[in-house]
Symmetry: C2
Subunit: 357 residues, 2 copies
């Protein structure tokens, strides 16, 4: 086995979910993640846990949607609820059989199914959970790479010293929390947001692997200015590029996109909350050197910031509500990040990198 798969498994079990003797562990994986599932079995066994693997498959889900009545889609799957309630650790591996298998399912039906499982999702979030991927052809293809290149990419982002990384992220969180606001300045960009009373969360590889971001929810009416997102992103099956947003008193007052503007419009007009930012964040993972249209990776790219329209996270003290949460990313090589009177990032370096040498 590629020793990187074993190392990945070790990180998920030891660092992300901290499996300990007696833990009941659920893995949720597609058939394409089998090799990582094998490696996880060994690591979970060594940690003293018991493991059950759920097989997920976009093709199977599509087939289910093809056959089910609306009534059936609203049934709570109580066997799934039971296994979720009775686990301590939940490891989800996204290695899609086919990233587009659900593209032509009526979104209303997808929503009915999601609603019937909302309660289960909430139970899951109360466990020690993590989300990762296993490199596979479908993700490599979406990333515009061969499988071998994609493997190098995934492990470059993932197999890092998370204890060390987390130290830096905590330092950044501390510095950001000393101040009451944050400002992103750069090409076509000058965005201000108050962060008063908010919590900056250091995402150190517990729930997302890889990780590497520090994020919060802005004060809702405080966002002012404009921002240009130069990194493409995938939403509703479309690749949206070159988004410009202008905010006044927290609300989007003007927007444009170089590609797929209609989709951007659809997102912004989803509901009241989708006109506001639910998240502002700084990406810190220098192991991720390019975008791959997979938000698990893209939002953590080092030397970037990102903002999300829509739902805010409760753990940040965020309040904005929306059916959507859409992240958009901007590279900051030519920009600056300020928090109050402190320069957090400039000239390609975070403040802690400047002081290091």
């Amino acid at each position: 086995m590629d020793p990187r798969i074993e190392e990945h498994a070790r990180i998920l079990v030891e660092w992300s979910t901290e499996v300990k003797p007696g833990d009941m562990v659920v893995i949720n994986a597609t058939p394409d993640a089998h090799e990582l599932v094998v490696a996880l079995h060994k690591e979970i066994a060594k940690a003293g846990g018991r493991v059950v693997t759920l097989m997920s498959s976009e093709e199977a889900l599509r087939a289910y949607f093809d056959g089910a009545s609306e009534e059936t889609l609203q049934l709570v799957p109580k066997h799934l609820k039971a296994i979720t309630e009775n686990c301590d650790v939940y490891i989800a591996l996204r290695s899609p059989v086919n990233t587009k298998a659900l593209a032509n399912v009526d979104p209303k039906r997808v929503l009915l199914d999601s609603k019937s499982q909302q309660e289960i999702q909430d139970i899951r979030l109360g466990k020690r959970w993590t989300l990762s991927v296993h490199p596979c052809q479908t993700l490599a293809q979406q990333a515009n790479m061969s499988l071998e290149e994609y493997r190098d990419f995934v492990y470059g982002a993932t197999l890092v010293n998370w204890a060390e990384e987390s130290k830096m992220m905590y330092v950044m969180k501390e510095h950001l929390e000393k101040h009451n606001d944050v400002r992103y300045i750069g090409p076509k960009t000058d965005l201000f947001a108050s962060t008063k009373g908010r919590i900056w969360v250091a995402s150190i590889g517990k729930h997302n692997m890889p990780s590497g971001e520090v994020f919060t929810a802005p004060v809702d009416d405080s966002v002012e200015g404009k921002i240009y997102f130069d990194i493409p992103f995938l939403q509703l099956g479309k690749v949206i590029e070159g988004v410009k947003l202008t905010f006044e008193k927290g609300k989007v007052t003007d927007f444009s996109a170089e590609k797929e503007e209609a989709t951007l419009k659809q997102i912004i007009e989803t509901d009241e909350g989708s006109r506001r930012l639910g998240e502002i964040a700084i990406g810190t993972n220098r192991g991720i050197k390019q975008y791959t249209l997979n938000m698990l990776f893209d939002e953590k790219i080092g030397d970037t910031v990102h903002c999300a329209l829509g739902r805010a996270y409760k753990e940040c003290n965020g309040v904005n509500e929306s059916a959507v949460h859409v992240d958009m990313i901007k590279s900051m090589h030519k920009g600056e990040i300020h928090a109050g009177d402190e320069l957090i990032y400039s000239k390609g370096k975070y403040f802690y990198e400047r002081t290091k040498k």
Copy 2:
């Protein structure tokens, strides 16, 4: 998709497990069974059930054994217990990733793990459950066939009219139960067993798919005579061939095998119960025309009988207990089956076939 996969799924859902609206269905499958899992999702959805799929894998299990302490192997997997308790239907698909992946695991460790899951296995047997396969390379290889040949073989055995088949099996059950004993006569064979007070079970494709056998447990001290099993079978990783057994007062008094006699000896000497027959049966599936070293199929071959050393089934009113249950098969083209004074099978025909035309 091969329409035979869809038909197989339909049989498992409609005939074997009779899925109905509101049923919670668990599928247990290896990654290699993915295509049948997809087809099952559609059929279960159409029947109004909710489905969760467990991923099994011999490679993952081997990795778990490699990592786990004896203490860990004795932990009851309570999350697996919870999902089992909360399901109505359990569909197990055996399409091994590698039939030999567990060959070098210490049997004592396998036993510890099995014991910790005995309670769960008992819960499972109280549900509407079925066992089938999805044609895959490992099973084709074991059967000495290409995958395409093996597909033809599996679907030839499985895609039959089970309602019609079951009528014949019930007729056979009725006739066998009119009498108090059964006798197998043929080359190197004359075996008598009392079946007084026992129930003959017609295996009509509910728990095993394919099926096609009528079986019971003989009265323990009644088995007398000798039998020659001409069809090879796989046990403890060995292919055993040409077994001869002699019985007196229910017990094996003499035995031999043309190949792997030492393994046969090991089986017979397992415990007190492994010296007795726990099952005697008649295979009726004419769709299965050759052995493939897979007992799910081999014991159902038409024009055969089989006997099992060891554990008897409670549903037959059987009482023999043993750690083993080892089936051995004999072709009857040149033999006869008698029940009391009735000729059940002779000259290549079951009694109901003789009366038909």
